[in-house]
C-alpha cells in the first residue's frame, strides 16, 4: 500500500512537471505567433515596420523609456533582482539594470545565493557599460553607476545617478538606501534564499520564470503589476 502511494506521488509530480513544461512552451509559441501576426498585418497594409512604431522614439530610445516610467502610477525607488537559477547570465542582468536606470529607478539590487555576482562584480559592471552603449543607441550621455559591493570596493563613475548593489546574505547594512519596494524573482525556486530579511517587510514579490533572454516587455510588465498593487500596512 505504501509502495502504491509512493508510485502515485511520483506520477503526480510527473504530471505537474509536464503541465508546467506545456504551459511554458505554449506561452513561447503564443508570443512568437503574436509578433508574426503583427508583422503580417503591417505588411498587408503596405506599411514598412519602421513606420508602425513612433519615429522619434526609434531615434531616441531614452524618451521611450522615460515615458514608460512616467506612465506608471508608481515606480519603485529601489528594485531587487533575485536570481534563483544556477547559472546566471551577465548580459541579461546588465540589460535589466540598464532598463531600470532608463525608466528612472534609482537603486537596483542584484542577488543570488551562491554569491556569483558578488564574486564577479567587475565582469557585471563591464557588461552593464557594454549594454548601455548597445541599448541606448550610442547616445552621448551614459548613466552613472555607483557600485556598492560589500563595502570594501567601490567603483565611482562621476555623478551618482543609479546605484547597483551586490548583496551578500545578511552582511551589508544598507542604512542609507531605502527598502526595496519590489523584488523580481527569477527561476523555479519559491524562496527568498536569504535576500535582505530585515528590508523586505513590505516588499512586493513578482515572479518571472527565467532571467535568460528576459525582455524589456517582461520588466515593464512586472513594473505595471507593481504599480497597480495597493498596500494597507496593517490598516
Amino acid at each position: 500500500m505504501v509502495m502504491l502511494y509512493g508510485l502515485l506521488w511520483r506520477l503526480l509530480l510527473l504530471l505537474v512537471h509536464v503541465n508546467r513544461a506545456l504551459v511554458s512552451w505554449l506561452r513561447v509559441r503564443l508570443q512568437s505567433w503574436k509578433s508574426r501576426l503583427w508583422e503580417r498585418a503591417m505588411a498587408s497594409l503596405l506599411l514598412p515596420l519602421a513606420l508602425a512604431g513612433f519615429p522619434e522614439q526609434q531615434k531616441n530610445p531614452r524618451l521611450r523609456y522615460i515615458s514608460d516610467g512616467m506612465s506608471l502610477q508608481k515606480l519603485p525607488v529601489h528594485i531587487g533582482f533575485l536570481v534563483t537559477e544556477e547559472e546566471p547570465s551577465y548580459t541579461d542582468i546588465a540589460n535589466l539594470v540598464v532598463w531600470c536606470m532608463a525608466v528612472g529607478i534609482s537603486y537596483i539590487s542584484v542577488y543570488d545565493n551562491h554569491d556569483i555576482f558578488q564574486k564577479n562584480h567587475s565582469r557585471l559592471l563591464k557588461e552593464i557599460e557594454r549594454q548601455q552603449r548597445h541599448l541606448m543607441g550610442g547616445d552621448g550621455h551614459p548613466y552613472n553607476v555607483e557600485f556598492l559591493s560589500n563595502g570594501s570596493d567601490k567603483c565611482h563613475n562621476g555623478k551618482k545617478k543609479s546605484k547597483v548593489t551586490l548583496l551578500q546574505p545578511l552582511r551589508r547594512t544598507l542604512m542609507t538606501i531605502p527598502d526595496p519596494e519590489l523584488v523580481v524573482k527569477f527561476g523555479p525556486v519559491d524562496s527568498t534564499l536569504g535576500f535582505l530579511p530585515w528590508h523586505i517587510r513590505l516588499t512586493e514579490f513578482i515572479f518571472v520564470p527565467s532571467h535568460r533572454d528576459v525582455s524589456y516587455k517582461d520588466l515593464l510588465g512586472a513594473l505595471k503589476l507593481y504599480s497597480s498593487c495597493q498596500q494597507r500596512v496593517g490598516q
Binding site: Y5, L12, D190, L193, G234
Partner: protein, 335 residues
C-alpha cells in the same frame, strides 16, 4: 467555537493525504491568514463575523495539519500595525481573542489528550492586561505538551522581534553573560520569540497579496513561499494540498540552499573563533610564536568556553521569559 475541530478526513481526502505523505512533508507550516474582511464584504457580513469565520477556518486547518502529520503551525493573528485600525475593529479583535483564549482553558483536557502546546509570540505588553493574563494561563497550562505546537503571533512584527532579540543580546553582554564577539546569526536566532521552534518549511499567504508584511522575515529566509489567491475563510483542504505539493517540488533546491547557508555560517563561526583565539594567545602569551598544536588546543578550549557562556545566557533568557508569564498568572489569581 472550539480550537480543535474533531473529525476524520473523507475517503478522497484520506487517499490524497496518503499520496502526499509519500513525499517529503513540511514539519512546520506558517500561515498569513489574510482575507477575512474582504470575505465579510463579499458576503454582506460584519467585519467581526469575517474574523470569527477566520478563526473557525484556523481550527479546521489545524485538524487537516494533524491528519497530514504536520506537527507545528505558526499563524499571524494580529500585527502591531493592526492597532492602526478603527478602535471598534481592534476592540472586536481583542474580544474575539479573549473569548478564544478563555475557551482554550475550558478545553484543557482535550488539549492534553492531543498534546497541543500553545505559544504566543509578540509584544504582549501592548495588549489589555486581562488578555495578557488569559494568554499567560493558556501558555503555562500547555507548556509541557509535546505532540503538536501552535504558535500564535499576536501583537507581533518581525522587526520588533529581531530588535528585541538584539536588545536581549545587549542585556546579556551588559550582565557579563556573553561577550559581544559571541554574537552571531545563530545566537540571534536563539533569542527570537520562536527560538523553541525550527524554522518554517512552508509559508502560505492567502488572499492573493504577494508580500510578507513583517511576518517571520528572519525565520523564513530559506522557506518555501506559497501565495494563494483564495480568501482565508474560504481556504480548503485542496488549497493546503496544493501548497504542500509546491513545497515538495521545491524541496531539493531549498534543502541545497539551506545546506549551503549552514556551511557558510559554520565557516564564519570557525573564522571568528580562530581570530578570538589568536587575540587571546597574543594577550596571554609570552611573545614566543605558538605551534600548531598549541593553537589547536587553545581553539578547542575557546570554543568550549564560548558554548558554555552561550548556554548559560540562553538559560537566563528562558528564565526571564518564563517569569514574565508566571508573574502574569500570579497577578491574575490575586486580582
Amino acid at each position: 467555537m472550539s480550537w480543535i475541530k474533531e473529525g476524520e478526513l473523507n475517503i478522497i481526502e484520506r487517499i490524497s493525504a496518503n499520496v502526499l505523505k509519500a513525499g517529503p512533508m513540511p514539519k512546520h507550516v506558517a500561515f498569513i491568514m489574510d482575507g477575512n474582511r474582504r470575505f465579510a464584504h463579499i458576503n454582506n457580513m460584519e467585519r467581526q463575523d469575517g474574523h470569527t469565520q477566520g478563526f473557525n477556518k484556523l481550527a479546521e486547518t489545524l485538524r487537516w495539519c494533524k491528519h497530514l502529520n504536520i506537527p507545528e503551525v505558526t499563524v499571524y493573528a494580529f500585527s502591531i500595525e493592526n492597532f492602526k485600525r478603527t478602535q471598534e475593529e481592534v476592540d472586536g479583535l481583542m474580544d474575539l481573542a479573549r473569548q478564544k483564549f478563555e475557551r482554550l482553558l475550558e478545553e484543557r483536557e482535550n488539549l492534553e489528550k492531543h498534546g497541543v502546546c500553545i505559544r504566543v509570540l509578540g509584544d504582549l505588553n501592548l495588549l489589555p492586561l486581562d488578555l495578557q493574563q488569559a494568554i499567560a494561563k493558556a501558555v503555562l497550562a500547555t507548556k509541557n505538551h509535546n505532540k503538536c505546537f501552535l504558535n500564535v503571533c499576536f501583537a507581533y512584527t518581525s522587526r520588533y522581534e529581531m530588535t528585541n532579540a538584539v536588545r536581549e543580546l545587549a542585556w546579556g553582554v551588559e550582565q557579563g553573560l556573553i561577550r559581544s564577539s559571541d554574537v552571531s546569526e545563530t545566537l540571534i536566532t536563539e533569542c527570537l520569540y520562536s527560538n523553541k521552534s525550527p524554522n518554517p518549511d512552508l509559508l502560505i499567504r492567502t488572499s492573493g497579496e504577494v508580500r510578507l508584511s513583517d511576518f517571520l522575515l528572519w525565520q523564513t529566509s530559506h522557506s518555501c513561499l506559497v501565495f494563494q489567491s483564495v480568501l482565508w475563510p474560504e481556504y480548503s483542504f485542496w488549497n493546503l494540498c496544493e501548497a504542500i505539493l509546491q513545497y515538495q517540488l521545491n524541496h531539493k533546491s531549498i534543502q541545497k540552499a539551506r545546506e549551503l547557508h549552514r556551511e557558510h555560517q559554520a565557516s564564519l563561526q570557525l573564522e571568528a573563533d580562530r581570530l578570538c583565539t589568536a587575540e587571546e594567545l597574543q594577550h596571554h602569551g609570552n611573545g614566543k610564536p605558538t605551534d600548531a598544536h598549541t593553537r589547536q588546543e587553545a581553539l578547542l578550549h575557546y570554543i568550549t568556553c564560548r558554548e558554555e557562556r552561550v548556554q548559560n545566557f540562553l538559560t537566563a533568557l528562558k528564565h526571564k521569559r518564563d517569569l514574565f508569564f508566571h508573574d502574569l498568572c500570579i497577578e491574575a489569581t490575586t486580582a
